[in-house]
């Protein structure tokens, strides 16, 4: 636990012994963050608190080096390696340190693989992190850095700008693909919603809050709690696993009480 942090503290201590300047004796202001972000200690305190945690290579967080489209920054998270080494995963929380709304979404892979691809809006270049909690209550953190010219959170989406969102609100499209990842069953879903961040003048926050997928035996496969930064008309990619029982039922709601209820078949 705190492996990297501890090593940095030791290094700082050694520096002090070698008559280092005064600043080297203070704690690392990034809390040992490999990406050197000053926001990390605050995020860690807010989301993880006093629970045990560590940075982990078992979580792959992949984003573009540069976000060509700040309204749709693609992120791919894969925590299967962590699940193999540290046990079943209860929660994958996505945050972006430098976004005005840092918390992007919570993903609970209840009975599916801990793999998720989605797109979100970035206001400026930032670390993007997956804070992953295993069922035994420990946290593991994976991250990547995405550069961006920015402005994604404070610009209205396309369907909001042209007014077409109201005709498609809540529509669901889905399709299943086999063996994209060896042995897996991939579900790609698009839910039509403007996902207004509330940061554009005159347009209050209006976004999907929750999506839940159940299989034909009424088992809940995953739950997603979505926050404002998730892109307009979210396109979500999930891995349902190797033994699947479709068709599936997608239910959910937005923050105005509109319900989502759609069947998805293979």
């Amino acid at each position: 636990m705190h492996t990297d942090w501890t090593r940095r503290q030791v290094l700082a201590g050694l520096g002090a012994l070698a008559a280092a300047p005064a600043w080297a004796q203070s704690a690392d202001p990034t809390g040992g963050d490999p990406l050197g972000s000053m926001q990390w200690p605050v995020l860690q305190k807010k989301h993880i608190g006093a629970a045990p945690w560590q940075f982990s290579d078992g979580i792959a967080v992949k984003g573009p080096e540069f976000a060509e489209d700040a309204m749709n920054v693609p992120i791919f998270v894969d925590a299967r390696a962590l699940a193999r080494s540290a046990g079943p995963i209860a929660l994958i929380r996505l945050v972006a340190d430098r976004n005005p709304i840092q918390h992007i979404l919570d993903f609970e892979p209840l009975a599916c693989w801990p793999v998720l691809a989605f797109r979100f809006r970035m206001e400026q270049g930032s670390p993007v992190r997956a804070l992953v909690r295993t069922r035994d209550g420990r946290w593991y953190v994976g991250q990547t850095w995405v550069n961006a010219a920015g402005g994604g959170c404070t610009v209205p989406g396309l369907t909001r700008a042209d007014g077409s969102w109201s005709r498609t609100l809540g529509q669901v499209q889905g399709r299943v693909f086999r063996n994209v990842i060896e042995g897996g069953t991939r579900l790609r879903l698009r839910v039509m919603h403007p996902m207004d961040t509330g940061l554009v003048a005159g347009i209050p926050a209006f976004h999907l809050e929750q999506l839940v997928l159940r299989d034909a035996r009424d088992q809940t496969l995953w739950r997603l709690n979505l926050h404002e930064p998730v892109s307009e008309n979210p396109l979500l990619t999930l891995e349902l696993g190797d033994t699947v029982h479709g068709p599936w039922q997608l239910t959910g709601r937005d923050n105005n009480g509109n319900r989502i209820d759609a069947q998805v078949s293979a």
């Binding site: 992949k62 693609p74 691809a117 809540g170 399709r175 790609r188 396109l235 319900r259 209820d261 759609a262």
Partner: protein, 327 residues
């Protein structure tokens, strides 16, 4: 139309292959622009075969001019006010005929952000390009200031003020023709000089560099390239001046651009049919034959980011479930 021997262009082209692009002087914000004659009355000012960067002053475009007794016709004005001013100076070092008209071949920033330096001369473009310049100019400015820094100092976008109509006309003994094609943008202007066989191909042809596609429509673009290819095979066009990449003879640039666009289309279609997410497509390997092209990684990422969402959405069945509103 005066029939000049076509060999002339060939000689200049051979010299051109060995010509290097002059390095910019960043400390003095000097693009070191040098006009190079490629045919009678025809010059180009070549940009770096690269992506926008401060190191090259964001000068990655080929501009040109045709100068005859009728005056000088300027094609494209570069990425900044500074470029436009230095282009003017470079031009005046080699030709004396006054500039009668400045034409921007499409709406992209390095085709017209130098217009500011040509305020006293008519500036023109296709009507659709002019509308696009007005709509996108501010965003272009912001983006290039971010990418190029001081090189953009004092640059404010000035859309072309007049329309260009597709037509054939005489320019001091050169039989010139404006042709409107489509696909790289919705209005791609090209200039054919039937006298010298030089084609200013605008954004439709790239050479040794990955094409940019922010406004691309692939089927139209492919059709336009096949048309240009016919002009070359018929001998109407000998020398191609792409907007990005070296000036060359024959179908080299057209074939490269066709190859990239067809390969990209197949990759995106196959990937979408397999269910890949855009994050995965961005990480697929790129075939060996493209590896030496300039701007490969950044343009591949841009190409995929722009185009892939359309291919993804096509994979979804049309059936949709409407929302049940239950407040």
């Amino acid at each position: 139309m005066t029939a000049r021997p076509m060999r002339w262009a060939g000689v200049w082209l051979l010299l051109g292959w060995s010509a290097t692009v002059w390095a910019v002087d960043a400390a003095r914000l000097d693009y070191q622009l040098q006009a190079r004659q490629i045919a009678p009355g025809t010059w180009v000012i070549e940009g770096a075969v690269d992506d926008f960067s401060r190191a090259n002053g964001c000068n990655i475009i080929n501009t040109g001019f045709v100068s005859t007794a009728a005056g000088t016709l300027v094609l494209n004005t570069g990425p900044s006010r500074l470029y436009g001013a230095q282009q003017r100076a470079a031009l005046s070092r080699v030709v004396e005929q006054p500039v009668r008209r400045v034409v921007n071949l499409n709406l992209h920033p390095d085709y017209f952000l130098g217009n500011q330096a040509w305020g006293d001369v008519p500036t023109a473009a296709l009507p659709g390009s002019r509308v696009g310049m007005q709509a996108e100019g501010k965003a272009y400015e912001d983006n290039l200031y971010r990418l190029c820094g001081d090189w953009m100092r004092g640059t404010e976008f000035r859309p072309a003020r007049e329309d260009v109509q597709p037509m054939r006309f005489d320019w001091g003994g050169h039989a010139l023709e404006w042709v409107r094609l489509q696909g790289h943008t919705s209005d791609d202007l090209v200039l054919i000089d039937h006298t010298t066989g030089v084609l200013f191909a605008g954004g439709l042809v790239f050479a040794d560099r990955v094409p940019t596609l922010p406004h691309a429509h692939l089927p139209q673009w492919l059709a336009s390239l096949h048309e240009i290819r016919q002009w070359i095979l018929q001998g109407r066009v000998k020398t191609v001046v792409p907007s990005h990449g070296p000036v060359h003879t024959g179908t080299h640039g057209v074939d490269q651009t066709l190859d990239w666009l067809q390969w990209l289309h197949e990759r995106l279609q196959t990937s979408a049919a397999q269910g890949l997410d855009i994050s995965e497509v961005l990480r697929l390997p790129i075939p060996e034959r493209f590896v030496r092209w300039a701007a490969l990684r950044p343009e591949y990422v841009r190409n995929v980011t722009t185009l892939y969402p359309r291919y993804e959405i096509e994979q979804f069945p049309l059936q949709t479930a409407p929302a049940v509103t239950g407040q």
